[in-house]
C-alpha cells in the first residue's frame, strides 16, 4: 500500500492504536507483522525474497561475529554480497544486460534474440538490499555488534515507514531505537504529524499536480517545443523533489509519532552552490551509503588525482545504475560524475579568478550565481533521468537545440496542457512549497513551523488537507511515488 492510499489511511491508525495500547513486549511482533503486511499488500509472493535476504544476512553476520578467522569472515561477507547483490541483479538488471548484449551483437552485424525474463521488480529491493549490506559490512568491520535477536533485525530490514523508498537507515541509528521503551510523547506526535502533513502536501498538491504537465512533454517528445521542454524539465526538478522528499517526510513523520527518529534524507537541495553540495543535501542516506561503502573503500580522495577522479566517476555511474536498469540513469549518474570531476579540476582557477576580480566568498551575488549554475546543471541531468529512453532523451535534446523550433508558436494550454486554473494552482503551490520549506526544520531545534500550528488552526489544516486528500482519492488519481520503481 502507498502512503497516499485509502488502505494506508485505515492501516496506520490501527497500527498506532495497537502500538500504544498493547504491552511494550508486544510492540516488536506488532511492528514486524505490520511491516510484513504492509509489504505483502504490494506483492504477497515476494515476501519470501525479503525474508530470505533477512535470514541469509543475519546468519552471515552471526558467523562473522563468532569467527576469529579472517578468511572465514571474508568468505561470509563475500557470500552475502554475492547473494544480496546477485538477487538485486537478477530481478533488476538481468533483462537490461541481456538487451544490451543483444543490441551490441546486432550493432556489429550479428543476429541474436534477447533472453527476456520480464520479472516483476520487487518493490523497495534496492533499499532493503543496501540496508542489509550496511549491517553485514558494519558487523564485519566491527563497528557494530551483531544483533542477537533475529526479530529485531528482521524489523530493522522491514520497518514499514522506510521499507519501500528509504531513507536507507543505518543499523546503529535504527536498531537501538526499535528496542527503546517509548511512551507516548505529545511533542513527538505533533512534530511527526507536521512532517506527515508537509509530506502529503508535497506529494498531493505539488508533485502529482506537476506530473501531468511533465508527462505531457516527456511522453510525446516528438511533439515537444523547446520552451515546453525547458518548462517541463524545470517542473520535473520540483516534481521529483516533492515526490521523493514528500515520501521521506511522511516516513519520518509516521516513525516520529511512534518515537522512532529516521535520518534526514533531504536538506533544501536546490539551495546548493555546487554539485558536490547538492549531493550532501539530496538523498543523503544513499549518498552517505555510497561514500562509506564504495567511495572510501575505493580510495576516496586520498590517492593520486587521476584515481580520485576515477573513483568519483565509478561512484556516480553506480549511483545512476542503482536508480534503474536503463542507459538514461547511467548517463544521469555519469553527468553528475563529470560535473564533480570538472568542478575539482577547475576549483583553483575559479578561486584565483574570484580573487582577481575582487569578489568576496560571502558575496550574495556570487551565492546566487553559484546556486543558479548548480540548478541549471542538475536540471540538465534531470532530462536524462526523466526521459523514457535514451532515444527520447536525444529527441528532446535535438528539439531543444533546434534554433528554428524556438520560433514556433507556443501555448501553455496546447503545449503543456496548462489551463489558467492550472497555471494559478502551480504558482500558488510553488509559493506554498517555498514557504513550508522555509518554515519546517527537520532537526529537534526550534523552527518556524510554530506558525503552521498557531492556536487551534492545526485542526483546520489537518481537516482541509484530509478533505482534499479524500477528494483526490475519489477522483481515482492515486499515484505511486517515483522512487518506488527503484
Amino acid at each position: 500500500m502507498t502512503f497516499n492510499s485509502l488502505a494506508f489511511v485505515l492501516f496506520y491508525p490501527c497500527v498506532l492504536l495497537l502500538y500504544f495500547l498493547l504491552p511494550r513486549r508486544a510492540r516488536l511482533p506488532l511492528l514486524l507483522a505490520a511491516s510484513y503486511f504492509f509489504y505483502m499488500y504490494y506483492q504477497p509472493s515476494l515476501i519470501f525474497l525479503i525474508f530470505g535476504t533477512t535470514v541469509i544476512s543475519w546468519l552471515a553476520a552471526w558467523g562473522i561475529s563468532r569467527s576469529h578467522s579472517l578468511a572465514i569472515r571474508r568468505l561470509l561477507l563475500s557470500l552475502t554480497l554475492i547473494v544480496c547483490l546477485g538477487t538485486l541483479f537478477f530481478y533488476k538488471y538481468f533483462d537490461f544486460l541481456m538487451g544490451s548484449i543483444t543490441g551490441l551483437i546486432r550493432f556489429f552485424g550479428g543476429t541474436a534474440s534477447p533472453i527476456v525474463l520480464s520479472l516483476v521488480l520487487p518493490v523497495g529491493i534496492s533499499f532493503y538490499t543496501f540496508q542489509t549490506l550496511s549491517y553485514v559490512i558494519d558487523v564485519y568491520r566491527g563497528s557494530i555488534p551483531h544483533e542477537k535477536n533475529f526479530f529485531y533485525y528482521a524489523l530493522f530490514v522491514s520497518f514499514f515507514p522506510q521499507l519501500v523508498a528509504g531513507p536507507i537507515e543505518r543499523p546503529e541509528n535504527l536498531l537501538p531505537q526499535l528496542k527503546e521503551k517509548y511512551v507516548f510523547n505529545k511533542a513527538d506526535a505533533v512534530k511527526g504529524a507536521k512532517h506527515m502533513l508537509v509530506g502529503y502536501f508535497k506529494k498531493i498538491c505539488v508533485a502529482d499536480l506537476l506530473a501531468e504537465t511533465v508527462n505531457l512533454v516527456y511522453n510525446v517528445p516528438e511533439e515537444a517545443t523547446p520552451l515546453g521542454i525547458l518548462i517541463a524539465t524545470a517542473l520535473f526538478a520540483v516534481q521529483i523533489y516533492c515526490d521523493f522528499s514528500g515520501y521521506t517526510d511522511i516516513a519520518i513523520g509516521i516513525s516520529r509519532v511512534m518515537g522512532i527518529r529516521l535520518m534526514q534524507n533531504f536538506d533544501h537541495p536546490y539551495r546548493a552552490r555546487t554539485v558536490r553540495e547538492f549531493w550532501s543535501r539530496w538523498h543523503i542516506s544513499l549518498s552517505s551509503w555510497f561514500k562509506d561503502y564504495l567511495y572510501i573503500p575505493l580510495g576516496g580522495s586520498r590517492c593520486a588525482r587521476w584515481r580520485h577522479m576515477l573513483n568519483l566517476m565509478i561512484v556516480f555511474a553506480v549511483s545512476g545504475l542503482w536508480h534503474g536498469a536503463s542507459f538514461t540513469f547511467i548517463v544521469w549518474g555519469l553527468l553528475h560524475g563529470v560535473y564533480q570531476v570538472v568542478g575539482q579540476l577547475t576549483k583553483r582557477p575559479r578561486v584565483a579568478l574570484r580573487a582577481r576580480l575582487g569578489i568576496s566568498e560571502d558575496s550574495r551575488i556570487l551565492h546566487a550565481w553559484q546556486t543558479a549554475c548548480t540548478s541549471l546543471l542538475v536540471g540538465f541531468a534531470w532530462l536524462f533521468f526523466r526521459a523514457n529512453s535514451m532515444q527520447d532523451a536525444i529527441t528532446l535534446l535535438g528539439r531543444f537545440f533546434n534554433g528554428a523550433a524556438w520560433l514556433l508558436p507556443f501555448s501553455l494550454k496546447e503545449n503543456l496542457g496548462l489551463s489558467s486554473v492550472a497555471v494559478l494552482t502551480v504558482i500558488v503551490s510553488l509559493a506554498l512549497l517555498w514557504l513550508m520549506d522555509r518554515l519546517v526544520a527537520y532537526g529537534d531545534g526550534e523552527d518556524g513551523s510554530a506558525v503552521l500550528v498557531r492556536d487551534g488552526a492545526f485542526v483546520y489544516i489537518v481537516w482541509t488537507l484530509l478533505l482534499v486528500y479524500m477528494l483526490l482519492l475519489a477522483s481515482d488519481k492515486v499515484s505511486t511515488f517515483i522512487y518506488f520503481q527503484f
Binding site: S419, T425, L432, L435, M436, D455, Y460
Partner: protein
C-alpha cells in the same frame, strides 16, 4: 474558471480571507470563536463545492489559496506580535532606568 465568477463562493472566500487576517487581532475569546467559525466555513465551502460538482482542480486551487493566505496571515501576526513584545520590553527597560 466557474468558481471565481460565481458570487456565493466568492463571498465565502472573501469572508474566509478576512477571518484569516482579522481573527488574531480580536480578544482571545472572539479570536477562538472566529477561528472555529473559519474551520466550519471551510468545511461548508468544500462540501458545497463538491455538491455543486465544481471541477476538482478549482477546488484544489481554492484550498491552496486559502492555505497560502492562512500561512501569510500567521506570519504577519507573528511579526506584529514579536514587534509589540520588543517595544513593550523596551518600554519596561526604559521605565526601570
Amino acid at each position: 474558471m466557474q468558481i471565481f465568477s460565481h458570487p456565493v463562493p466568492l463571498i465565502l472566500a472573501i469572508l474566509l480571507t478576512v477571518l484569516h487576517f482579522v481573527a488574531p487581532a480580536l480578544p482571545a475569546l472572539f479570536e477562538k470563536i472566529l477561528k472555529y467559525a473559519n474551520i466550519c466555513l471551510h468545511i461548508v465551502l468544500y462540501f458545497a463545492l463538491i455538491l455543486f460538482k465544481t471541477p476538482l482542480d478549482e477546488v484544489v486551487l481554492v484550498y491552496l489559496v486559502s492555505l497560502l493566505l492562512y500561512i501569510l496571515s500567521a506570519l504577519l501576526w507573528q511579526r506584529i506580535d514579536a514587534r509589540s513584545e520588543q517595544s513593550s520590553a523596551k518600554e519596561k527597560g526604559e521605565s526601570k532606568k
